[in-house]
Symmetry: C2
Subunit: 319 residues, 2 copies
Amino acid sequence: MNSIEIIKDELDELETKLKEFVRSDIPLATEISQYIVSSGGKRIRPTLCILTAKALFYKGKELIDLSAAIELLHTATLIHDDVVDESLVRRGKDSVQVRWSDAHGVLVGDFVYSKAFQLMAGLKEKRLIEELSNSTNKISEGEVLQLSLKAKPNFSEKEYFEVIGRKTAELFKASVVTACILSKANEKVLKSLERFSYNLGIAFQIRDDLLDYVGKEDKIGKKLGKDFEEGKITLPIVRAIELSNEEEEKFLKDNLSERNMKNFDQTLDLIINSGAIDKVKEDEDRFVRECLNELEILSPSKFKDALIGITKGLLNRNS
Amino acid sequence: MNSIEIIKDELDELETKLKEFVRSDIPLATEISQYIVSSGGKRIRPTLCILTAKALFYKGKELIDLSAAIELLHTATLIHDDVVDESLVRRGKDSVQVRWSDAHGVLVGDFVYSKAFQLMAGLKEKRLIEELSNSTNKISEGEVLQLSLKAKPNFSEKEYFEVIGRKTAELFKASVVTACILSKANEKVLKSLERFSYNLGIAFQIRDDLLDYVGKEDKIGKKLGKDFEEGKITLPIVRAIELSNEEEEKFLKDNLSERNMKNFDQTLDLIINSGAIDKVKEDEDRFVRECLNELEILSPSKFKDALIGITKGLLNRNS
């Protein structure tokens, strides 16, 4: 994802903008925000935003501000997620609340949100602000929904897609839809690319949830089985339960509800032997194919090709 | 503050708007937000916003949305404050993280923020959105500044005013300045009322910090000495240290840095006997007089009178 050479200048500008814009009169706010902003990350949302605008021939000056606002929104949710999930590691480094404290995580997360909103508020077109504020609302709904489902013993496929739709796909969608608005795309193009980006977000999250079980720890930058340990039911579990007999189902549910990591090797064997991993890959594949179909609406360009490349790359990504 | 009869209709509309607008497809988000939104509160920021707009002859339709956005911003910061401060009680009821959990506090706080931003994004004039997003940023800076000062043994008057300026006065200011923008007030009126509202916020917070030492627990809805217990240095302590001899200063600083409540009665005696309480009341009085001067720019009306009444009422408020 980092090697998108055709928008290298824009991505470099974005990095500078992110680092400069979180500067504050309060040194601690600058220090922590720059720590998290500079710790890498794939910048997939800004990349989608920039590529879409370029594919739609946008020539204006608001692209960096818009994509920086989107990345800061995402960053703020990560900081709060890490507090809530008690995550130790983010992007291969100590998470904010490990390096500082929970209080720092909550308050600097709010600071980064406020910086995102300042960038949003500076955008000329009000429709962009509305789109992003609606997206922010959906994301926070997704977080609350996920929290409310944690206590629930039976968790359906439908609920899984509701959570990841809000938590992940909404901001993928907003990244692309705002690029369409900025580029004054017609409604037909906008609707196609809205479906493209929403489905891409879904496919992206499915892959993320898959990597939590079958990824390489050094690649994903966090411990395997973290979702399981947090009692988060994701698609590999949903599919494994569907494909298991009564006894196996009980084993999975019991260990999950107790967040029992002692039997994690056995759990993992059970998930793999059930065929759940292959089934999840099929799910992902289906969403990716829908994405590729929707991209057909774009006229040929190297930016379109890059969007296709990102979409296909999802299927092979291991971090 | 609740008995502002001349804007009773608007305040009733505000209550309905607040309660309805935090409704969500996610039942838990609705439940917790309505719990906190319906638990009272003085609504002083919306009251200032509404009275200012009325005093400036505003007749449009955006006043309830604007003042609801402001109250929701305030509510979101309260929810996160309670998580960070581990507060047990808010407005006489269990705080969100006591009734639910820290995670609920963080995520529902974000949800309420997002609702505030949705309301803001819907306002016609972009300058309103910019003003409110800048204010949100200052508030979060104030929170981080306060956190960074907690560890500091020497805390100056200047730092105290920087914290409360950002944490409290900024949103008082935004409540009144946005009302001026909405009412198309001229720049001179806007600047006067900006000073009025900022100083009112300062006076309000000074009184709040005073009540933490000399208030009545049943009136303020929380335990006395809470700031002290959290290691928060507020004006009563700043003044008491100024007015104490070396030995007393050491006693105050030692107990504060250890957050030692066993000697709180002795601490309180020391603060009172030093003359700090009277000195703080003088500080407050000075800000209130400045507020009253700035209000002179308004032409006579019952709304102006109400603003004067609120300002004077601050000096006697005990909750």
